[in-house]
């Protein structure tokens, strides 16, 4: 895994960090096509609003403190009609037009969008953007199920992290089968809700390589505050290499603590909820752990990804993330936890 990327993510996750990562979740630091369009619009509108505000304050100041002759100019219906009707109507027409223009630049891909799942849920987009890579993201309580569908039809699962090739539009299909969530990666694009019974499609186009953070934006109960994710935008060739590795099975452990950890993982039934491709663990209730060790964070963007955090999560997850649906495993002793953590950390 890219060292720079990991460092960046770590500093964002670790509470010790200083100003270095500020802006990793900022809509004001766009690194995606939609976010850039909106950023520009936002700047323009902010300047406009600041000017209007200054005008209003000036008018109030004159009305209160101005000379009589100045005040008389303000004190008639003419002011109301000019400043209160004609100006707003004109200005708002321009703003509305600009807003609609920015909207019209959004993706035109249609099928599946906002429509019911009922009949052809899995039908691919009629005109997928870019190379045809799709990512299905499902909002869970309280994490993100991620499934990549390559143009040649391969599918593989991941969680709590999106990898994107820079410069290529990728269709992200947003779903939920529980409560409503909202997918928001501010540096890439605006948010779009995940609503049971519907599929919403958001097209993400990363414009520069790097890591950014996203978070659930629709209150989804319980641990809503602790439902984050990372987006890693990679140069296309790096992305292809990653895709090849990530779509494959898990690495088998070849040294002591990890081998013991795997045995524990299998015997204590972790596979009932989690999948580790290439092993007997095929559960789908919880996140896919095939390459969990290579992700930037644990627990949906709330813990750094290291052996210690794995141990903490397994034993103490109800404190780390109250109400999450994984039971706390207090049955393991320290040595066992260390083994398990080593195994999971090794699943790169």
């Amino acid at each position: 895994m890219n060292a720079r990327v990991r460092c960046f993510a770590l500093c964002a996750v670790a509470p010790v960090l200083a100003a270095g990562c500020a802006g990793v979740q900022s809509a004001l630091a766009p690194s995606g096509a939609e976010a850039e369009r909106i950023g520009l619009l936002f700047q323009a509108v902010t300047i406009f609003c600041a000017l209007v505000f200054a005008g209003v304050i000036a008018a109030i100041a004159v009305a209160l403190l101005g000379r009589r002759s100045w005040r008389e100019k303000l004190s008639g219906e003419a002011l109301v009609i000019r400043a209160g009707i004609f100006f707003p109507v004109t200005a708002l027409s321009v703003l509305l037009g600009y807003g609609l223009y920015v909207m019209s630049l959004g993706s035109n891909a249609q099928a599946g969008s906002g429509l019911r799942l009922s009949t052809d849920a899995d039908a691919p987009l009629e005109h997928p953007p870019g190379s045809g890579l799709r990512i299905a993201v499902t909002g869970e309580r309280w994490w993100w199920r991620v499934e990549y569908v390559t143009p040649d039809g391969r599918r593989f699962a991941s969680a709590n992290e999106l990898r994107l090739p820079v410069g290529e539009p990728v269709a992200v299909e947003l779903m939920s089968d529980n409560v409503i969530h909202s997918f928001w990666a501010p540096r890439l694009a605006g948010k779009l809700d995940m609503i049971p019974g519907r599929v919403n499609t958001l097209t993400l186009t990363a414009t520069e390589a790097g890591v950014s953070r996203g978070q659930c934006a629709e209150y989804c109960g319980g641990a809503h505050a602790l439902m984050a994710f990372y987006v890693v935008a990679m140069p296309p060739e790096e992305f292809s290499a990653w895709l090849a590795r990530a779509s494959g099975p898990a690495v088998m452990p070849d040294e002591r603590p990890a081998i013991d950890g795997q045995a524990l993982f299998m015997t204590y039934g972790c596979g009932g909820c989690h999948t580790v491709r290439g092993t007997a663990a095929r559960g789908t209730i919880g996140p896919d752990l095939t390459h969990v060790g290579s992700r930037l964070s644990l627990g949906a963007g709330i813990l750094p990804n290291d052996a210690q955090a794995f141990a903490r999560w397994i034993r103490d997850n109800q404190h780390v993330k109250p109400e999450n649906l994984m039971p706390p495993f207090e049955i393991f002793d320290h040595a066992q936890l260390a083994d398990l953590a080593a195994y999971l950390d090794h699943l790169e």
Binding site: L17, A18, C21, A22, Q25, S26, A27, A35, R37, F42, V45, C49, V52, V56, V62, L64, G66, E72, K73, S75, G76, E77, L79, V80, A83, G84, F87, P88, L92, L96, Y98, G99, M103, S104, G106, S113, G114, R116, L117, S118, T119, V179, I180, G190, K191, L192, I195, R198, N200, R213, C216, A217, E218, Y219, C220, G221, G222, A225, P322, E323
Partner: protein, 841 residues
Amino acid sequence: MAQELPNPIPRPEGELEELQRVWATPKGWRLASAVNNTVIGLFYIGAAFGFFIVAGLLALLMRTQLAVGGNDFIGQELYNQMFTVHGTTMMFLFAVPAVEALGVMLLPQMLAARDLPFPRLSAFAIWAYVIGGTVFVTTILYDLAPAGGWFMYPPLTLKEFSPGNNADFWLLGIGFIEISAIAGAIEIVVGTLRTRPPGMSLMRMPIFAWAMLIFAAMIMFAFPAVILATMMLEIERSFGWPFFTAALGGDPLLWQHLFWFFGHPEVYIIFLPAAGLVSMIVPTMAQKPLIGYRLIVVALIATGFFSFGLWVHHMFTTGIPGLSLAFFSAASMAVAVPSGIQVFSWIATMASSRERFRINTPSLFILGFLVIFTIGGLTGVMVAMVPIDFQVHDTYFVVAHFHYVLVGGMVFPLFATFYYWAPMGSRNMLSERLGRWVFWLMFAGFNIAFLPMHLTGLLGMPRRVWTYPSGLGWDALNMTSTVGAYVLGAGVLLFVIDIFVRFRPGQGPNNPWGAGTLEWLPSDVYSTRSIPLVTSREPLWDQPNLAEDVKAGGYYLPGAPTGGRETLVTSPIDARPQYVIQMPGAGWPPFLAAVFTAAAFLLLTVKVVVPAIVSAVLAILFCLVWTWSLDPGPGKGEVDIGGGIRVPTYMTGPRSHSWWAVVVLMFVAGSLYLAYVFSYLFLWTVSPEVWAPAGSPALPDVGWPAASAALLLAGSALLYGARRVLPPPGRFRLAVPVLVLLALACLAAALGSEIAGHWRTGLTPSSNAYGASVYMAIVLFGQLAFAVVILGGYVIARHVRGRLDRERRVSFDNLALLFHYTVAQSLFGLLLVHGFPRLVA
């Protein structure tokens, strides 16, 4: 000036004493039985302000939790409950009731009416609200509070994801505010249109009265949507009718449509009365009439309408087609214009002041309002632009935006009102010195707290999070917001101290600000001694000696000619005297009805069914007891109100205030039904596959709805017949109860036939969204039928007891209106439920 007064002065001896006796306020613990607007208005404002304090304290606790990243001062579950209770309390238990309370308190004074037209209805609504609201906010103390957010989106709030009774307490709290809001709307519509003083035509109404009229009209059309939504949510939670469950053909978005069809107008429901208050205070401080009166009226009406076209504005990120969003973005632009009109009207009026615009505590709060509200309005334009909303929706930017709009647009004018209109309820004015401190602390605190939040949101912080990691650039901003919140809190605390020190219930100094409107006439428990003839918008400025002549009893209705409480009813547009309403005085039934209504809902919420039903029966019983003494009949004949005008003391038919109230109620029922029709069609567009005949059992044979329709029409005909056979006063005619009973029986049979028809096809309400929709039509029919049956029994009882005849028949007219409305609505329902699936099949 040689103005001829309608009445000779001095007035005969004993007239004033009679007036005082009739309007006397009950003493001691009997105060709870009072119904006069100045008394219960104070309770109302006090309660609303109390809820404001509670919700504000919750906000301070939440700000404390958010002061630093990774804090664990308040845990996740409690925090989620706290923001839900904070939002719900502020919106439903503080903001709407507070402005409604000001309407109850100030409107009759501004219109120089002796009281609102239905004093007992006000009392009922207020006590139901106080009890229900108190129970709701205390749930936070024992972990029973809802945690679904004030907007309560399903599926999160369905049984599956919110087990326990917590969410039901939210529905309970809302139930009360729905009742009191509708009651208030009836009161205010009829009050502003029918109890204005002679001569106060529509164009001379104080702006606050315009604002309240539009406020009430908006409630009539906005609240029914949320009433229907809450009914459906509670039914789905309790009985599993899948309105919102996608797997069974329901749709979570249905809730969002209904909730925001209410929720967006709600913001303006709160803002318009506050803007009306500003339009009253600014001219006083400028000592000049409002510039652009007609423009402000236009702005108020336009806001009222346009605000209904904005609801999808809250759903910009739900993934509905871009063009749909654009329609609502356009409407959001349209609603910005009226706010601009108002802001510049106020500025123009300030500038028109002959000397400088007076600066004191009320006007400081007005200026603070202007600054804050302008910022909120401008960020409102930003979020109205769809792409910007994609980013800032559900972030702290939006938190900042709507606090600027609501605190700026409503709380600051409210504090201005407290200082300005204090003499309406207190013998002392509030402290001017402390008042300035209150203002500056609140103004500074507010901006320190909320201005940084714009940036916090843009830097990516979502709303409704109980914690956040440090290091995302949010730490310093959050700390600043927390500090600001405490400064704001200190300002409010200082105000509370001022209240304790200075506020003494009673009548304060006369017109301390030199205002021009009628609430500043000298008044007592009976309001003004006589009801003036108004010839301008600022009568106190334009009609010399008005105050003295009114106080001396020189104008209309200087006494109590019927020997009871009364006020003058005038025509709705030109305000010409029509008749004198005889109004009820203090009494316990409204209070007890409210207590038992509250008990019924509460017990039902905690699933204690039998006592709940007993309470409901008692509540209905006390309502009937309270109405029994109304509808006094024409026995008092005509009275002289002065100026040679003799008017009747009793009115039936379309001119009666009671008829108007029932018409308002029918509008409410009608918009509730339209919301249902929308829901039915909406669910069909999202899940046509569960609709009959393909996805559900085929509809019953046409004979069933035909039979129901025939029964309904027969019922209407029978009731019409009953009206024809009403005997003259003093006689009893058996045909009346027989015909009324038969009409009620027809209604019940129609309902029964509708239920039986569907049940026999095997359709059940919980099978899918179609079944739920079909049976929901029946629920709405049954609900009206239930009310009609109670009212029918009441009418029969009155006839039997000799209290209802051909002349004394307001109760009968009300029954007839409601009955025919029920028939019309149900016929339409039959057409929809039985016709629509056949049409599209």
